[in-house]
């Protein structure tokens, strides 16, 4: 269970996150929504270690995440995707996925070079896992394509797949539906809803579009200008006047941005 307490983050005078308390329980999909600029992506960046907050605590099963450099976060079962779908362009899809799994290998360069049995075992396991993920997402056909030759929708799926590779306990998704067309969004929603059950992982989905987020999640938190203004079930949030006001007053709602 992820616990965020008293979190505050400022960028040169602008408060991106203001005294946030949030619990992300295991086994379900939690959505974090809000208009553009509400601070949602910043929350994700803090959790994954890319931003350092001025104040607050982020605990995962008691472990202080803020004490970790970003490259150690994954070791504790937390993975993430990226809003701008940053795949490794010149690597193949399958290699992109395997990079998400490589942290499990602790072999140094010498052992990697000599292809010790442990290293070969890791390569086999990585490839096996990559094919599992490709099948789960239904994109086995593009396995060998170079990442920068993919269409946008395919790239999004690979980004998601990469986050699923190491059998994470918590997956942080940054606007996974942004830029996708209607049919693709429905598809993504179906895939996401299978994650807690079949992959035994909690999901924190960031989105400014209410449709997808409310559709797949069991718990919704709403942010506006860095504050949390609601934290309830999807149905409750849908009819919450504060939430509606925030969306009508500020950014867009329902329309796909990007």
């Amino acid at each position: 269970m992820l616990q965020i307490e008293d979190l505050s983050l400022s960028f040169g005078g602008v408060k991106a996150i203001d005294d946030l308390h949030l619990a992300v329980p295991d086994g379900i999909i939690t959505a974090l929504i809000g208009p553009n600029g509400a601070g949602k992506t910043s929350v994700l960046n803090v959790i994954s270690g890319f931003y350092r907050p001025q104040q607050g605590r982020v605990l995962y099963d008691g472990l202080d995440l803020l004490s970790l450099p970003p490259y150690q976060v994954i070791q504790h079962g937390i993975t993430r995707s990226f809003q701008n779908v940053a795949l490794f362009g010149r690597l193949s899809v399958i290699d992109n996925l395997i990079v998400g799994f490589d942290h499990r290998s602790h072999a140094g360069v010498l052992r990697n070079m000599l292809r010790t049995p442990a290293v070969r075992g890791h390569e086999r396991a990585a490839r096996r896992r990559a094919h599992e993920v490709l099948e789960f997402l239904g994109i086995t056909a593009i396995a060998r394509r170079r990442a920068d030759e993919l269409g946008f929708g395919e790239r999004k799926l690979v980004d998601l797949g990469r986050a699923l590779m190491p059998r994470p306990r918590l997956v942080l998704l940054d606007e996974p539906a942004a830029g996708l067309m209607e049919a693709q969004r429905a598809w993504l929603a179906r895939v996401l809803s299978r994650v807690p059950g079949e992959l035994d992982a909690a999901v924190l989905v960031i989105d400014h579009d209410m449709g997808l987020a409310l559709g797949v999640s069991q718990r919704v938190a709403v942010m506006d200008f860095g504050h949390k203004i609601a934290d309830a079930t999807p149905d409750e949030v849908r009819t919450d006047p504060l939430v509606i006001a925030a969306y009508l007053g500020g950014g867009s709602s329902g329309a796909a941005q990007d």
């Binding site: 990226f82 690597l91 290699d95 990079v99 942290h103 990697n112 070079m113 099948e135 929708g153």
Partner: protein, 365 residues
């Protein structure tokens, strides 16, 4: 004409089928073995031609140095305009060890050359990993100038005249003949290339490429970017140091004048012309430039100008370098066929079909 097209097509088809291998090493094993066999047989045919043997050995040595630079630039995304400095360190280490400890087995000296150079690469990599490309280029430029100047002024490196090396004893063979030296160079190159290839298709190699392609997002996958870059510099320097060993051996003398700026530029150009992130591209690029240098040796300046123009042309017309040529030829040859296929096919949906809830569910554990 159709014969050429067929050859190009089959070459390219085979090259593409190797695409799942480390990005860039597109030549499948069979072609590589053919080349290796040719390289092994070469002295049997031309062994008597001393200058040709020397040229071939130089091509092998520069090939390894270029490969080490390509590891840094093509696969790692960093830049170095001073790799001649690493070659110098390897060569001088070799010369110094052989001068003072003449009885050391060659493998010890070879590895020492690599390790000492590797340490220097490590030291350079520490600050270098934090710099953006322009500044990194300037820093490595300075390195490339500084090393020969230091060598010029120290006693242990023999100053202006440098150090000479007595021919090496390998068991019963004395390497005072260009043919055994050629084979030694070939052996060092082949083993190094195999090692590099092995590294590239392992987590280490993928880490290099991940940092190259997505430095900001790599930490999310557990990659310590700083450490990865330092390792990259160390490895690149190590292999360049090995090339330095061979360089010292076949030249017989190690002096500061051999490591001037134009050498670093040659390696840089060879990486670009041969193709970034391509093992065999580096080897071909280096060989090509060695030949160009030799052919235009009569009029100084021509080789420099030609190499410079080659770099510019490659950038403008064939950015992937020579390594990208098979693919370009294939695309060119099949352009007509592909256009027809595209016109005939219906617009393909971008989506995979929706699976049933239980399909494709991965096993646990």
């Amino acid at each position: 004409m159709s014969g050429v097209r067929a050859v190009a097509q089959s070459l390219a088809r085979r090259a593409r089928s190797g695409a799942a291998a480390p990005a860039g090493s597109r030549l499948p094993a069979a072609a590589g073995l053919v080349v290796l066999a040719a390289a092994l047989a070469f002295p049997l045919v031309e062994g008597g031609n001393l200058s040709l043997m020397g040229l071939a050995t130089e091509a092998l040595t520069y090939g390894l140095a270029t490969l080490s630079l390509n590891l840094l630039m093509g696969y790692g995304g960093q830049v170095s305009v001073g790799h001649g400095g690493f070659l110098a360190v390897g060569a001088y280490t070799t010369a110094i060890l052989m001068t003072h400890y003449g009885s050391l087995p060659f493998i010890v000296v070879l590895l020492a050359a690599g390790l000492v150079t590797g340490v220097l690469g490590f030291l350079l990599g520490l600050p270098a990993g934090r710099l953006r490309s322009h500044y990194l280029a300037v820093a490595t430029l300075g390195f490339g100038f500084a090393v020969p100047q230091i060598a010029l002024n120290l006693n242990i490196t023999g100053g202006y005249t440098g150090l000479t090396i007595a021919p090496v004893q390998l068991g019963s063979v004395t390497l005072n003949n260009p043919v055994p030296v050629y084979y030694l160079a070939l052996a060092v190159l082949v083993v190094s290339a195999a090692a590099i290839r092995s590294i590239l298709s392992s987590p280490t190699g993928r880490r290099f490429m991940a940092v190259r392609d997505g430095e900001d997002t790599a930490p999310a996958m557990g990659i310590n970017t700083r450490r990865t870059k330092v390792l990259l510099f160390t490895l690149s320097a190590f292999f360049c140091g090995l090339a330095g060993y061979v360089f010292a051996l076949y030249n017989g003398i190690v002096e500061p004048a051999s490591f001037d700026f134009s050498l670093s530029l040659l390696f840089f150009a060879a990486v670009v012309v041969g193709g970034m992130a391509s093992i065999w591209g580096s080897l071909v690029g280096a060989a090509l430039l060695v030949v160009v240098q030799q052919q235009s040796a009569a009029v100084q300046g021509y080789s420099e100008a030609i190499v410079g123009l080659a770099v510019i042309l490659v950038l403008l017309l064939l950015p992937g370098g020579l390594a990208a040529l098979p693919r370009q030829l294939y695309d060119l040859a099949t352009r007509g066929r592909r256009r027809a296929a595209l016109a005939a096919a219906p617009a393909a949906p971008k989506l995979p079909p929706a699976p049933s809830p239980s399909a494709g569910a991965p096993r646990e554990g």
